[in-house]
């Protein structure tokens, strides 16, 4: 059997013997990235609605910063948090370093600009008629944001999916602040790095397949909703 063939058959056997260790990694991945996405959406989507809908001084600068933030290298976000949480750092007394909480915080830092930037882009796509009507209704600011967000929900949903896709696939931030501790802070991406480094390619590929499946399921669901919406409209 060729090398790649061997790797593939080994990967299949790992997937077939889906054990408690793998289950724990998968569970922690979903928990950390799900929570980070939730926080990122909670803060980023209203921020994006504000940036996309309201006119105020400094808006252009903020938009530029958010767009730049969408491209921040995960390892740098991890490093920033590491310095903050380090025992001599400003937040060192919290003692959160090398726990899943630190990983959630690091990934949320990555999710916020994605959610904000793509939400702002989505609502800026409102037609001029829709914008004028939105202003004409005389609604309170949160209701105005809500109405615009609902109107452009396919774009907002894509922003949420992109935020989840970004954090679940990154390795730099969780590795730096989580430490890839087996059974405690090991997630799919850090596990792949670990397995690959130790030349257990079959296991690495098996984890990669699971990661890929998660991305396909989330984005497939969003695409399906958007297509159904387009068919209705």
């Amino acid at each position: 059997m060729s090398f790649l063939g061997e790797v593939l058959s080994e990967a299949l056997s790992v997937l077939a013997n889906f054990g408690p260790e793998l289950r724990k990694v998968l569970w922690l991945t979903l928990l950390v990235s799900g929570l980070a996405t939730f926080i990122g959406v909670l803060l980023g989507v209203p921020f994006g609605l504000w940036l996309g809908l309201d006119r105020f001084r400094g808006r252009g600068l903020l938009l530029t910063l958010v767009n730049a933030g969408m491209g921040i290298p995960p390892v740098l976000a991890g490093l920033l948090l590491l310095l903050l949480l380090w025992s001599e750092g400003p937040l060192g007394s919290l003692g959160g370093l090398f726990t899943p909480w630190a990983m959630v915080a690091a990934q949320a830092l990555l999710a916020i600009p994605i959610a904000a930037g793509l939400t702002a882009a989505a609502v800026r796509g409102l037609s001029s008629d829709a914008r004028e009507q939105l202003d004409a209704l005389g609604l309170s600011r949160p209701r105005r944001w809500w109405l615009a967000g609902v109107e452009m929900w396919p774009g907002v949903a894509a922003a949420i999916a992109a935020a989840f896709g970004r954090v679940v696939s990154e390795v730099g931030a969780v590795l730096v602040v989580g430490g890839n501790i087996k059974g405690e802070t090991r997630v799919l991406t850090t596990a792949i790095v670990q397995e690959a480094r130790q030349a257990r390619f079959g296991a690495a590929v098996a984890l990669g397949v699971i990661l890929l499946l998660m991305a396909v399921i989330v984005n497939g669901a969003i695409t399906w909703l958007q297509l159904r919406e387009a068919a209705d409209g």
Binding site: A130, E132, R143, L147, V150, E151
Partner: protein
């Protein structure tokens, strides 16, 4: 009439360089000011600034604004009808939706409504609100002919206890809905007055060009002979295109240039309207001259200086006017 209300003034410079300036106007509560003028004259901009969707927001008055192309958000017609309205306002909007024959469409997805249906629904929302100042941008633009009367009646009813500013470039809307007309040309209000004043006595050539008319007279339909109606205007019988039933209050509109002038009743004519009167005044109007004739109501006629000489007309002398019935239009006045 009600207590006086001040419509705040507007100053706004458009990116095109057009300086739009409007008001302030003092008007009685319950009155409708129609802002009339050609496309691009700045009417919509003035309304947007008043509504706060453009320029520095926030006047002292609570406004409700109907944009030129009302947008329907996702969700049902009812959802869109009630956006931004409180409990009592919702009931008022629902009553108006019934008047505007849109109530049955409320359960449907609003984005599937036709242009006219959207405009009627949005109008019900705007008129249902308790705003002091109602701002309507071309409220009849998307409305088809058979719904015009219900829409104008709803506007008259909905604007009753407050002030309405209505933007239009449609003379029929002016004749139907205006208590006061402000004519806007190139960003500035050139003339303000009653419909009769502004249409019959435009203050300058540009206003005359903008109104492009000359005669607006009020009367009551006395007979119908489809497609014509006979209207009694202060004793003068005027035949015009119209479909109103006898007893209806109407305004009759016709251009001063469509009125034919003769020194006496000699000569055959196919015109239904032949009126005799006394020549009150002769005024130059650009390259033409305008004759103001007392025929019961005052009628304006535009002729060339050559015709004036050939006919040997003098102020105080008698003249005969004729007008084809098809050149005049009778428009309904909403019941007050």
């Amino acid at each position: 009439m009600g207590d006086p209300v001040t419509i705040p003034g507007v100053q706004h410079r458009l990116p095109t360089g057009l300086e739009v300036s409007f008001g302030p106007f003092d008007i009685s509560r319950g009155q409708r000011l129609v802002l009339f003028g050609p496309n691009g004259s700045g009417k919509t901009t003035a309304l947007r600034v008043l509504a706060g969707t453009m320029g520095s927001a926030g006047g002292p008055l609570h406004t409700a604004y109907l944009p030129q192309r009302p947008y329907m958000f996702r969700g049902s017609g009812r959802h869109n009808l009630t956006l931004g309205l409180s409990g009592r306002e919702v009931e008022q909007a629902e009553d108006l939706a019934r008047d505007l024959r849109i109530f049955d469409k409320l359960p449907e997805p609003a984005q599937r409504l036709s242009g006219g249906e959207r405009q009627r629904l949005a109008l019900a929302r705007v008129l249902g609100s308790d705003a002091d100042l109602v701002l309507l941008d071309e409220p009849l633009a998307a409305i088809d002919v058979r719904n015009r009367d219900i829409v104008t009646s709803a506007i008259a009813k909905g604007a009753r206890n407050r002030v309405a500013v209505i933007v239009t470039h449609d003379r029929d809307v002016v004749a139907t809905l205006a208590d006061q007309v402000a004519v806007m040309v190139e960003g500035a209000v050139r003339q303000v007055g009653s419909v009769g004043e502004v249409f019959s006595l435009p203050s300058d050539n540009e206003v005359a060009l903008a109104v492009g008319l000359g005669n607006v007279v009020s009367g009551v339909v006395v007979a119908a002979d489809p497609p014509l109606v006979e209207v009694d205007v202060a004793g003068l019988r005027v035949w015009a295109l119209g479909s109103q039933s006898p007893g209806s209050e109407v305004k009759v509109l016709f251009g001063a240039e469509t009125v034919t002038v003769a020194a006496d009743g000699q000569g055959l004519t196919s015109a239904r309207n032949v009126w005799s009167g006394r020549l009150d005044a002769v005024r130059p109007m650009g390259r033409l001259v305008e004759l103001l004739v007392d025929a019961g109501p005052q009628i304006a006629a535009l002729i060339t200086p050559g015709s004036l000489d050939a006919l040997d007309l003098h102020e105080g002398g008698s003249v005969v006017l004729s007008l084809k019935a098809t050149a005049a239009r009778a428009v309904s006045v909403p019941g007050s």
